[in-house]
């Protein structure tokens, strides 16, 4: 059966697809953001929410503060972090030809966390000090995992995953060691941060994070067609004029960088990069020019919702968003692992 390509306008089909998918997922993201801003522990219903948003002069100032100074930055942060993690998952899955690759599973998040904790304990400022150490940690673990699994990294997906899991276990041990030998009184907050916490958000931090990750998004989108070609194998890609080693290194570094800065901001949030790219690939097919914007928007919406659940599910207080993503993501991982064996 021939798929008809009817030309309605002169716009190429691929652009139409990118715009259509982005429009739909932008709407999903927008709805998630509205939900994230309107609901929470002090829930007052829709009426006061809309009047607070649309008519700031005539409302309860407390609600206005809750919405604009607590929930809004939190929603923005969740969107940025979700977008970053899901996009990074997509990139690693394409480069390593492994549907189970993901920044947390590959140990990048763990390595970045070690770097970040060392930075925090050394009393460095969040940017650039802690950020750079986290980036170094993330890159370090990435290359450790790749070199452990090298030789058969591409052909044997289990080797790569096992290396990642082991490096991750080691990272967790180092993190616990660092926390236990330090005399830091903020132990509870570090533990909370480790589990992936978005509560620390303020508008300034969200802005800084956006400043760092959005250029990464653009760069990855620019390389998305090359990611498609890389799936054809590196020799084929090279014979089609792709500079494989440069593109691969660039994508690995940029992805590790953006994951590291999000880890600095909100700790370890697992499996976002597994669930979202996989769902999107099922729905939209393998073209990364569509999947890159879709992962950014979809990942953002997903983490906003996960964070919302983390805020409203507990009877008292709240829990880290990472708990929700792990509770959803780990079963999905197991499902994918079983399916890829058969």
């Amino acid at each position: 059966m021939i798929r008809q390509r009817r030309v309605v306008t002169d716009m190429p089909d691929i652009l139409k697809r990118i715009f259509a998918v982005s429009a739909i997922l932008s709407f999903v993201l927008f709805v998630s953001a509205i939900l994230g801003m309107s609901m929470g522990s002090s829930n007052r219903g829709w009426g006061p929410f809309f009047s607070a948003v649309l008519d700031p002069g005539h409302t309860d100032p407390t609600l206005s503060v809750i919405i604009w100074q607590i929930r809004f930055p939190r929603v923005i942060l969740a969107a940025l972090v979700g977008a970053t993690l899901s996009l990074a998952g997509l990139v690693f899955q394409a480069l390593l030809r492994n549907p189970l690759a993901e920044p947390y599973i590959l140990g990048i998040s763990g390595g970045a966390a070690i770097g970040a904790i060392i930075g925090i304990l050394a009393g460095l400022s969040r940017f650039p000090g802690v950020g750079l150490l986290a980036f170094a940690g993330g890159m370090g673990t990435l290359f450790l995992v790749l070199s452990i699994a090298s030789g058969n990294a591409i052909s044997k997906r289990e080797t790569l995953l096992l290396s990642g899991v082991m490096v991750n276990a080691f990272c967790s041990a180092v993190i616990m060691l660092l926390i236990s030998i330090s005399m830091n009184t903020k132990l509870h907050s570090i533990m909370f941060w480790l589990m992936g916490d978005l509560a620390s958000a303020d508008t300034g931090q969200a802005f800084y994070l956006a400043l760092m990750v959005i250029p990464c998004f653009v760069l990855i989108f620019a390389l998305s067609h090359k990611m498609n070609i890389l799936l054809m194998g590196s020799e084929m890609a090279r014979s089609l004029g792709v500079n494989v080693s440069v593109v691969t290194m660039l994508l690995l570094c940029v992805s590790s960088f953006m994951v590291s800065v999000t880890v600095c901001q909100c700790g370890l949030i697992a499996f976002v990069g597994l669930v979202i790219p996989h769902l999107l690939r099922l729905a939209l097919g393998p073209d990364h020019r569509v999947l890159v914007p879709a992962s950014i928007l979809g990942g953002g919406a997903y983490l906003i919702i996960c964070d919302l659940l983390a805020r409203i599910v507990p009877q008292q207080g709240e829990m880290p968003a990472g708990v929700i993503t792990a509770m959803i993501g780990a079963p999905v991982f197991i499902f994918l692992l079983k399916r890829s064996r058969t």
Partner: protein, 285 residues
């Protein structure tokens, strides 16, 4: 007229293992140039050097009158399309997507195809008769169909030279002929220079304008099939007794293998009485 490809004194080695040793030849534009030789003689390595995947350790490779190292990667990919021997399996893409990848070296920074690229892909698909498969996934196709899809991708790349590494391997005879006829159609209709590796000497003899016989990394002989294919030379290279006679189709050399090494006494009689291809044995190469 300039040679499409000119290789002089090419030397290539993997670490300490010499693979290609002082290989020189040139390929005329619009020709079909077939590289034959036993396993391990360096055919695939030579193809990869020509495709720009490996760079020569010594010697030079000129593509269309310009040294291969002088081309930026994308510019080279607009001149040469390469169809490797074993494409990566497990491709998630549809046939039309894979053919469209051939446009990659012609696209801008973001790799977005225009309407013209879709049209070219469709033309390439109809050229290799895979248009009806456009919406299918690669893993749903037979070996012969897959090979035609990869040929369509190469045509869609709109190159001046196409490199094919054993395009007929593991195909049945009907599909072998179909691929080879397509290759000839590319040569004639699109004036593309075709360089291919083949294990099938008879197919090579049928379609090649020029044959290159590689042995232990050396270019043993290069010329028209009737000059290159003598039984003395082939026996020396392949190390097995062969019969070379003329094919009833146009008098091209025809190579037959002779069975029965361990059993058949009559084999010696066959070999001793073999038809010698008149007068070509002593022709220098």
């Amino acid at each position: 007229m300039n040679a499409a490809i000119k290789v002089s004194r090419l030397y290539y080695a993997y670490r300490d293992t010499r693979v290609l040793d002082s290989v020189s030849f040139s390929v005329s534009p619009g020709n079909c140039f077939v590289i034959i030789g036993p396993n391990g003689s360096g055919k695939t390595t030579l193809m990869k050097v020509l495709a720009g995947l490996f760079s020569a350790k010594q010697g030079s490779v000129e593509i269309l009158g310009k040294d291969i190292s002088g081309y930026p990667k994308k510019a080279l990919a607009r001149k040469i399309a390469y169809v490797p021997q074993q494409p990566v399996g497990d491709l998630p893409f549809l046939v039309e997507d894979i053919v469209l990848f051939g446009r990659a070296p012609h696209l801008g920074m973001f790799g977005l195809e225009s309407k013209k690229d879709y049209d070219l892909a469709r033309m390439a698909m109809s050229f290799t008769e895979v248009e009806h498969l456009a919406g299918r996934r690669m893993d749903q196709l037979s070996g012969g169909e897959q090979q035609r899809v990869f040929l369509a991708r190469a045509v869609c790349q709109d190159p001046e030279i196409i490199l094919l590494d054993e395009p007929t391997a593991s195909l049945d005879i009907a599909h072998q002929m179909r691929v080879m006829d397509l290759m000839e159609k590319m040569k004639i209709e699109k004036n593309i220079t075709v360089v291919m590796v083949s294990h099938d000497i008879n197919l090579a003899a049928m379609y090649a304008d020029t044959l290159l016989l590689l042995h232990h990394g050396k270019a043993l002989c290069c010329g028209p099939p009737e000059d290159v294919l003598t039984y003395e030379r082939l026996e020396a290279v392949y190390g097995c007794p062969l019969l070379v006679d003329k094919s009833p189709l146009g008098g091209l050399p025809r190579i037959s293998t002779v069975p029965g090494r361990y059993i058949d006494d009559s084999r010696d009689t066959i070999l001793n009485g073999r038809i010698k291809n008149a007068g070509t044995e002593n022709r220098a190469c």
